[in-house]
């Protein structure tokens, strides 16, 4: 009969006791605790006995029982470091292939790590030059339309908040308000320069640190028509001469330069070419609309507090303010809250945001990808070191016999891996310099957002990364070596179970390849989806259309001139370009029902030119002036939303709706099309007529020679407008640009996938080389006994191939589910995931791996057995 297992105290507690207790006291103390444990088992049962044991172990953690730190051990490490260096160098040089695999893998993966470190450090150092960064807060707004549930989160707010907030929150030190969107042509004596400026009130320069080079901080933005320029703008306008006190004319208004500030640093979320005093807007007559609580779209308010606090603490006061002011509104509610300035760049997306934003999940994903790649390289190191442990076991054995302790051997191998990681860092830094340039050139916005400067702080982080990578890579081999039994090793090295850790190694290889396959599959699926987005049937035609931003010119005059170009087949005008993501909305009222409907104001050529399909009715017939419209064309969603004529397009014709106080008859119903981006479902949209929307010309061309046509358009533009650069873009390219973020993400993931595959393959290659080398004798004997070459190749390959198959079986379903259930649910108009894509990716990886394995095994199988066996 089997004996009842004896009750034992919890192992970890005993181990803990061993760890902290002085060796002199340890034995009898442990015995005492054991004796009590035995008694308690008999008396109180095993569970409470274990609990008491644990408590006792913890209670004995007292000054007189804790072991003294043995400084001597550390001292030995220092003495031995020279020897560690020497042996590391020797082993590096002796195994050139493995050293190369390790160093290249670590260098390549760490260069990605370096890039991510610089990106993250850039993001966190945004606005660092502001000395009040930690106690500056932005007022942000949440607004809900009456009758709707979806709320809009805005980075902008009402100027009225700035005027009232000091009454509600007396703790506030300073308030400043600014308004974006000034753009005009600055005329000085002999030149005209287009300038985008920001309106700002007088405390702007006190709240933010944009140092004035010239002018008076107290009054620079006080008076109406004051203008503060950046150094760069001042130079553009006035050259070398002193700008202060000079005048600049925009249209008919004359502004006086009251200050020049230093150029705005790159890592600033607020950026401007010039500042205009906010009081300029009110000059002459006070604009009531500007100061209304509902005007929340273009204004930004910042406050500073005497010291950093938790922004939610002031929320009740802000809620009271919102509640009181909301009484003046009828169709929406607005509520404000505070956002710390340090969260602006990493705060996720808010509508009307200024400056760059970077969603934290994207950042964490980037970090995650870098970590995965680095870990993959670490796995290589671990795998190869443990696999080759036999060759260094004698060294370890001798060290141990001479008197090295566990911790010394551990230290030696950790030091070795850290040294290799630091060596790899040198190469990876060179790679990083290349990567950095490529990354900044990847997309034109990236260079605006990131500087990726190499600061002392970043270099310290780089070193830290290398050390951590070294430790991560070397920990397992070091533990393995330190536990080695010296006598065993010296007596008979071949008896050592070198393949004892095969399980772990296999797991590591599977993990590496699974991750690589996931990356590859994700890239391919993503690419397909992106292609799908760009070539999606939007419901209207975009081919051969060039959109031309008028920039203040008269559309009709330009259209007449452009029509002379033979390649131009048609010209229409519109207020905006659809399907690029931007939206304009106005309230539409049908009977008593009213809601915000997206709109585009177009001329009579627009709908035919873009080949919108009419389900009923026809294009605009009347040609009214602005404000005297009588007709409207809507899409199916409008009929559905308001349930006009039971959603029957034919019957909806002639129905009357109200927009902007005008009574409009529906003269046409167009088929649903994509007004916004494909990330959103199709919503109600209306077309209103405008003879001159004055924003864009849509030029349809039929031309074999696109550059020549663009050239002639450029010529026409030059004739009419000598100030502004022509801004003409091909519609299809604009659509691609609208989804540029996706192509960017794809490029990055694709690149990482490439690296991951390379590193995993390197590791696999190393393992294959090692295995075939150690099995050379076995192969030779088999061959002598009559094994066929194919049989041998199969024998050597099958283990590795099985691992690859396991990786595929794990990776593909995971990727599929991830995309199907998580990513693509966010895109209502996505493509189906094609299985061939995923299989294709894994096939490529398999093929690569097979090549690597094959080349080595074939070499081994073809070996002349006589040569190998002779040398025994």
């Amino acid at each position: 009969m089997k004996q009842q297992p004896k009750a034992t105290p919890p192992r970890w507690a005993t181990r803990f006791l061993h760890w902290y207790c002085r060796p002199r006291l340890l034995e009898d103390l442990e015995g005492d605790l054991n004796e009590y444990f035995g008694r308690n088992v008999a008396r109180k049962g095993i569970r409470s006995a274990r609990l008491i044991y644990i408590l006792d172990v913890l209670k004995f953690l007292r000054p007189y029982t804790i072991r003294k730190i043995e400084f001597f051990h550390f001292f030995i490490h220092w003495i031995m470091i020279g020897s560690y260096f020497k042996t590391s160098r020797r082993s590096l040089v002796r195994n050139k292939l493995f050293s190369l695999i390790n160093i290249v893998g670590l260098a390549v993966s760490m260069s990605v790590g370096l890039l991510v470190i610089s990106i993250v450090s850039d993001l966190y150092s945004y606005d660092d030059f502001q000395d009040k960064k930690d106690r500056t807060y932005r007022i942000i707004t949440k607004t809900v339309e009456n009758g709707q549930t979806s709320e809009t989160n805005l980075a902008s707010t009402s100027i009225r908040v700035g005027e009232k907030i000091k009454e509600s929150v007396p703790a506030i030190e300073d308030v400043t308000a600014m308004r974006v969107g000034f753009s005009g042509d600055a005329k000085v004596s002999n030149s005209t320069v287009p300038i985008e400026a920001t309106w700002a009130d007088n405390s702007f320069l006190k709240v933010f640190k944009f140092p004035l080079l010239k002018g008076d901080l107290e009054t620079a933005l006080k008076e109406p028509q004051s203008l503060v320029l950046t150094e760069k703008t001042a130079e553009k306008l006035f050259g070398e001469s002193d700008a202060l006190g000079k005048t600049v004319r925009f249209d008919s208004t004359i502004y006086t330069v009251t200050g020049v500030v230093q150029n705005v640093p790159k890592l600033s979320h607020i950026n401007f070419q010039a500042l205009i005093s906010l009081s300029s807007i009110d000059a002459g007559h006070k604009d009531a609309d500007l100061h209304s609580w509902a005007n929340i779209w273009q204004n930004y308010v910042y406050v500073t507090l005497p010291e950093p606090i938790d922004a939610t603490k002031l929320q009740p006061a802000l809620d009271r303010l919102s509640k009181q002011e909301n009484k003046t509104l009828t169709n929406r509610t607005v509520s404000v809250s505070m956002q710390p300035m340090k969260d602006i760049v990493l705060g996720g997306s808010l509508m009307n945001n200024i400056g760059p934003t970077f969603a934290p999940p994207v950042m964490w994903t980037l970090c995650g990808l870098a970590i995965v790649v680095i870990l993959s390289a670490c796995f290589n190191y671990t795998n190869l070191s443990v696999a080759r442990s036999m060759r260094r076991s004698r060294e370890v054995g001798i060290r141990k016999i001479i008197g090295a302790q566990k911790s010394h051997v551990l230290g030696q191998f950790m030091a070795e891996s850290v040294i290799i990681a630091l060596l790899a860092l040198v190469f990876s830094f060179a790679l990083f310099m290349v990567l950095r340039k490529e990354f900044l050139g990847l997309d034109k916005h990236i260079a605006d957002v990131f500087s990726l400067n190499i600061s002392i702080q970043n270099i310290l982080y780089f070193l830290l990364l290398a050390v951590i990578t070294g430790i991560a890579a070397g920990l397992m081999p070091a533990l393995f070596f330190s536990k080695m039994n010296a006598l065993h090793v010296m007596k008979d090295a071949s008896s050592m179970k070198i393949f004892r850790r095969v399980g772990i190694r296999k797991v590591l290889i599977v993990v590496q390849f699974t991750l690589s396959l996931i990356f590859i599959a994700a890239t391919l699926i993503g690419y397909n989806q992106y292609k799908g987005l760009v070539t999606f049937n939007l419901g209207f035609k975009t081919e051969n259309i060039i959109n031309l931003r008028l920039q203040g010119n008269k559309g009709n005059i330009l259209a007449k001139e452009l029509a002379q170009i033979p390649a131009v087949k048609g010209i229409s005008q519109s207020m905006m370009i659809t399907s690029l993501g931007s939206k304009h909305g106005t309230n539409l009222t049908y009977k008593t029902d009213s809601t915000l409907v997206w709109e585009n104001q177009v001329d009579e050529h627009y709908l035919p030119l873009h080949q919108h399909q009419f389900l009923a009715g026809q294009n605009f017939t009347a040609r009214p002036e602005k404000g005297k419209e009588s007709e409207i064309i809507v899409n199916q969603q409008v009929l559905k939303r308001f349930n006009i004529a039971d959603q029957n397009p034919e019957k909806a014709l002639g129905k009357i709706v109200f927009v902007s106080g005008q009574q409009l008859a529906i003269v046409g119903v167009v088929k649903d099309f994509h007004y916004g981006s494909l990330e959103n479902r199709i919503e109600p949209v209306m077309f209103r007529y405008s003879s001159e929307p004055d924003r864009y010309l849509n030029v349809k061309i039929v031309s074999q020679d696109l550059p020549a046509t663009l050239e002639s358009i450029q010529k026409v533009w030059r004739k009419l407008d000598k100030v502004h650069e022509l801004d003409a873009k091909i519609y299809d390219e604009q659509i691609e640009e609208a989804y540029a973020q996706f192509s960017l993400i794809l490029k990055i993931i694709g690149f990482i996938a490439f690296l991951a595959i390379c590193i995993a393959s390197l590791g696999l290659f190393g393992m294959v080389v090692f295995t075939t080398e150690t099995k050379l004798k076995e192969i030779s004997i088999r061959k002598v006994l009559g094994a066929s070459e194919t049989g041998l190749i199969y024998l050597l390959c099958k283990g590795f191939l099985l691992l690859l198959v396991i990786s595929t079986v794990i990776a593909l379903p995971v990727t599929y589910l991830f995309f199907d259930k998580v990513v693509l649910t966010k895109f209502p108009y996505h493509q189906a995931i094609s299985i061939t894509d995923m299989l294709g990716g894994s096939l490529i990886v398999m093929l690569l791996a097979f090549l690597l394995i094959g080349s080595q095994t074939v070499k081994a199988a073809r070996n002349n057995p006589a040569k190998v066996l002779k040398s025994e």
């Binding site: 006291l25 034995e27 009898d28 103390l29 442990e30 015995g31 005492d32 605790l33 054991n34 004796e35 009590y36 035995g38 006792d56 209670k59 004995f60 007292r62 007189y64």
Partner: protein, 111 residues
């Protein structure tokens, strides 16, 4: 010297060791103490007291033979050293001296 005096609990522990002859090891001392005083003696308290006594040179210890009990761990046996004996005798004398100088102290009447 810091260790010339005995604390009350230390004195009790030392006396118990003396009373137990050669079988005095930590767990047994705890049990004996409980018997003498009627209070529970925690191992942690006794252990640190023993450690202090040994530091002060009033007790000596040696490890016994390993047995299969106690998870194969040896016991540490304590005995009273010469200095310990001196300290015990001295403390007893001090007490007796004081007792002698209490006139007509009658324990029975006061309770």
């Amino acid at each position: 010297m810091k260790g010339a005096n005995l604390g009350e609990f230390e004195e009790l522990v030392l006396l118990t060791i003396a009373s137990m002859a050669s079988e005095a090891y930590s767990v047994a001392i705890c049990d004996e103490l409980e018997k003498y005083t009627g209070r529970t003696a925690k191992l942690g308290v006794v252990h640190s007291a023993l450690n202090r006594l040994e530091e002060k040179g009033m007790a000596k210890s040696r490890l016994g033979e390993a047995t299969s009990a106690r998870g194969g761990k040896r016991k540490r046996f304590y005995e009273v050293s010469h200095a310990g004996k001196v300290a015990l005798v001295k403390s007893k004398e001090v007490r007796e001296n004081i007792w002698r100088n209490i006139p007509g102290f009658n324990l029975e009447g006061s309770i």
